[in-house]
Point group: C2
DNA sequence: TGTATTTCTGAATAAAATTCTGACAACACG
DNA sequence: CGTGTTGTCAGAATTTTATTCAGAAATACA
């Protein structure tokens, strides 16, 4: 059940993480392999769910998402963090991440909105209407220095 | 200087965010346009930096990254959050996000490691050696419910 | 209304993805 | 040892796609 990745797989993942749209032919050239061999590996990585998908990174400012915030959410006393709450949070498009965390708070979510006023609107109209949410603690991001998944290649 | 995106652009971004490796031909079919027209738009979105890149989402558990944590970092008294500190944080591969935040703390970082012991090692050997870091406050993620950038399509 | 600009279609060409066949190596096991 | 199995790979053939281009349609604007 455990997925085993050799050095070639890691090379492929490393390059595809940096550029998901690299052509299979280019990838093959970089690895000095036949395109068919590389393609076969990529397909297997997809099947084995090592590769979960390919996404396009969009400049948030250009799509009216200039504000980024992290919000800690605490459930009402006596309520365990239910998966319903998590699902309700995840259903909101502006909510880009939902993490169930250890400690007193229940969830940490990452939210993108146009500006601070639309964040307020979101919190009033969407978050507060989700059952069992007792309180929130918001952290506003002033500037993002790095935001990128990066492969940590194990020593061979 | 302001980038203007029409409905077609948003359709393209929406589909490419869901699958960055969709073929230009398929995209054109979905939008009922000629491939050349779609390709032209994608190239422009790249030039205008609306599209910042294409990445592959890798299942963290398969590459020995089973632990996810958020760490709040506070600078030493009397030190403003310097960009040097941010750069030092960003240079660590396990540190996947670095946000400069409002409030008493300076930075919020997102870290992925194999397990809690390797997180401890990272904090001792890497974080604590960065100058001007006074204290850290760590939040361990138990379960991630959602983690995906999602396009918020404006009403047309 | 005329003109410039942008965006599109459709066809041609170059390049790439995909499929397939068979070779080769590593391995398990009788 | 020999044999069958499995997994990986290269190379060629075929299908599909990316890319380029000329000109038509649409749009903006003076």
């Amino acid at each position: 059940m455990d997925v085993v990745l050799d050095n070639t797989d890691l090379q492929i993942l490393d390059r595809m993480q940096a550029n998901a749209r690299i052509s299979n032919a280019d990838l093959a050239r970089e690895l000095n392999m036949a395109p068919s061999a590389v393609l076969e590996r990529v397909k297997k990585l997809e099947q084995k769910k090592v590769i979960q998908g390919y996404t396009t990174q969009i400049n948030p400012a250009t799509i009216q998402q200039k504000l980024l915030a992290f919000i800690f959410i605490r459930s009402s006393e006596g309520f365990t963090c239910s998966s319903n709450t998590a699902q309700a949070l995840a259903a909101i498009p502006e909510v880009q991440e939902v993490h169930h965390i250890a400690g007193e708070d229940c969830y940490l979510i990452k939210v993108r909105t146009a500006d601070s006023s639309s964040l307020m609107t979101l919190m009033r109209n969407q978050l507060q209407k989700i059952p069992n949410i007792a309180s929130t603690k918001t952290t506003i991001v002033l500037e993002t220095v790095k935001e990128q998944q990066q492969l940590v290649i194990p020593k061979i």
